[in-house]
């Protein structure tokens, strides 16, 4: 069994209630920081822990916190990014649904460290029922004196609110999220200024992912140094991985960073191997935005060493042979999967979700979708592959926010590693009909 710090009590009946959560040590970090630590001391522990943002970018959390401006007389805010929308990612939903108090505990503890009197949990609108669960948990926390005025008799007061979004992937980008929180369209802002200087309503703001904020609780309890001993190298601690696709046991798994990818895919403790005993074809390791890798490169890096589930190991070899840990959205494709057709679903996604602010992304994502559509419909031209390559190159790095890069990378990596499949589709359009999935009509019909 790997080390678990976040979802270790997820199977305990009633863990979503304050009573049971506290019976299992819940809110200890709030008590600890309020009674025995100063805010700078909490920040110091988070820095020492080496915790990195769990939403996808992997930026050191302690450093992000230390950038927060503290001008006299200006409110500071903590905003939790619960706009989980990266295809392949559903870990935050699981955490909030099953152990809502862990997030709230993290919000209070983190807000204390940051000196924030108010915090917001911005959750994607589709997770409405999860917002309801969080609201219930917040009510319980208020009633128990864990939120509101003078928490647990201390001089720290804090209010936390849930805000539901309206259904837009782009609001997972932190400045778009802040725009949305202000009741506007989710158009990303030009940085600088960074949210730490001018965030929501122009006030200094820290935006952190759900899992990042939850991880602050064990860090406070065990100390940053102890936390940093878990994991491998600069990938400290544990990570929630959302596993889906052609595997026997899809679900959310908490792993200690550094776990070999092969073990994650094939061990019974995690994905339980490929369905029907099929062969592994490819993996998207960190959500749709990260480069797709073929089986040989996801299991071993270009030097032939086992690939590990860590920020460093997954990105080894750069984009030529590597990928990224990203959000931990781990999608597995077996030998029956069509990489080109799958890519089409991604391209359609990014086109749909582009906010339209920057022309390379607004226009380019649409062109990529159209070209891929004609290829899978059997009307592809031999020049289409190079055309796709050209478009993605012109999007990457040329947009205000990373959505452009996120749209470009899946296309680039699919062509890089699976070019022959594109060629096959274009040369033999009649073969496209033969593409079948494991869950064909018969399986859906229960046959």
């Amino acid at each position: 069994m790997g080390k678990k710090l976040l979802i270790l009590n997820d199977k305990v009946p009633g863990i979503a209630t304050l009573e049971v959560y506290r019976q299992h040590g819940g809110y200890a970090s709030v008590e600890k920081v309020l009674k025995t630590m100063t805010p700078p001391e909490v920040l110091e522990e988070v820095k020492k822990s080496g915790l990195r943002g769990r939403g996808g970018a992997g930026f050191p959390t302690g450093m992000k916190w230390s950038f927060l401006a503290r001008p006299e007389g200006v409110e500071r805010y903590l905003v939790c990014n619960a706009d989980e929308s990266e295809p392949g990612t559903f870990k935050d939903r699981y955490l909030m649904e099953v152990i809502p108090h862990l997030l709230i505990e993290g919000m209070i503890t983190s807000s204390y460290a940051l000196g924030a009197k108010t915090s917001y949990i911005y959750i994607r609108g589709e997770y409405f029922y999860v917002a309801r669960i969080l609201e219930k948990a917040l009510d319980e926390a208020y009633a128990a004196g864990l939120l509101g005025k003078n928490i647990l008799g201390s001089d720290f007061s804090h209010d936390c609110y849930v805000q539901v979004g309206g259904g837009a992937y782009i609001c997972g980008e932190e400045t778009a999220l802040l725009e949305s929180l202000e009741g506007k369209r989710g158009n990303p802002r030009i940085k600088p200024p960074f949210p730490a200087i001018a965030g929501v309503w122009g006030c200094p703001t820290v935006v952190n992912n759900v899992e990042t904020i939850a991880a602050v609780c064990p860090i406070v309890m065990m100390g940053g140094d102890e936390y940093a001993k878990i994991g491998i190298g600069r990938s400290t601690g544990t990570k929630l991985i959302s596993a889906s696709g052609h595997i026997n046991k899809p679900g959310v798994y908490e792993i200690e960073l550094g776990l070999p990818v092969e073990e994650f895919i094939y061990s019974e403790e995690y994905c339980g191997g490929i369905i029907n005993g099929n062969k592994l074809k490819a993996v998207v390791a960190g959500g749709s935005s990260v480069p797709i890798l073929p089986a040989d490169l996801i299991l071993k890096n270009d030097k032939g060493e086992p690939r590990l589930m860590s920020y460093e190991s997954l990105s080894e070899g750069g984009f030529a042979t590597g990928t990224m840990l990203g959000s931990g959205g781990f999608i597995v494709y077996d030998e029956t999967a069509s990489i080109v057709k799958n890519l089409y679903t991604f391209a359609r996604f990014y086109h749909h979700e582009s906010c339209g602010q920057c022309s390379p992304c607004r226009e380019g994502t649409g062109w990529m979708e159209k070209i891929l559509h004609r290829i899978i419909e059997g009307h592809g031209k031999p020049s289409d592959i190079d055309l796709l390559w050209d478009i993605q190159r012109k999007i990457e790095g040329n947009t205000i926010c990373p959505l452009g890069d996120a749209a470009a990378w899946p296309v680039a990596s699919a062509i890089r590693h699976f070019r022959s499949e594109f060629e096959e589709y274009i040369k033999h359009p009649e073969k496209i009909k033969d593409v079948k999935h494991y869950y064909s009509v018969h399986q859906l019909a229960g046959a």
Partner: protein
């Protein structure tokens, strides 16, 4: 069917409570949640009249409401059926048969994706990743996620919804105590 576009007192009190969550003068922040409520209260979609009304409640310009309502995918700018069946179509769901689920729905209901049944009961819509990839394929109707779908589950669901015959909204689950 004409319904007066006006929140009742209870809903209005809720709206004002929500506005208090934001600093003085930042009441526009409540726009997204209030649009969800308005959509649920006034027939499952946001007519120009509804949007104008929301603008007046928040004391902002109508254009500020239109631009937001047209940006986010959960706001319906055209009427939809009482049950808006939103089938996820992105990668993980696609690998597990989302396309076949859509085809099955189309066959069962005799309509195409994007259309509404004549009785105004069902609308089929395909949507992007709903964050339920581990339990694919799935569809969302109102606040409910229906996961690990099979044709049989879909059939049962349609029957259940038809029998209940009521409007489903994202705010289904007792939103008055929620937002």
């Amino acid at each position: 069917m004409s319904q007066e576009i006006k929140f009742n007192e209870e809903t209005l009190a809720l709206v004002h409570k929500m506005i208090k969550r934001y600093p003085e003068g930042k009441h526009k922040s409540a726009l997204l949640p209030i649009l969800h409520i308005a959509q649920a209260e006034f027939g499952g979609w946001l007519s120009p009249e509804t949007m104008d009304y929301v603008a007046s409640v928040l004391n902002i310009k109508p254009i500020e409401v239109y631009e937001v309502a047209s940006f986010y995918s959960m706001y319906n700018l055209k009427p939809v059926g009482k049950c808006l069946l939103e089938v996820c179509r992105t990668s993980s769901c696609w690998t597990r048969g989302a396309e076949d689920i859509v085809k099955h729905l189309e066959k069962k209901l005799g309509i195409k994706e994007g259309e509404t049944t004549k009785d105004g009961m069902f609308t089929i819509k395909t949507v992007e990743c709903l964050g339920s990839c581990g339990t694919a394929p799935l569809l969302q109707c109102g606040a409910s996620y229906h996961e690990n779908l099979t044709f049989e589950k879909v059939d049962n669901l349609l029957e259940e919804y038809r029998a209940a015959g009521k409007q489903r909204s994202y705010t289904d689950m007792d939103y008055k105590n929620t937002l």
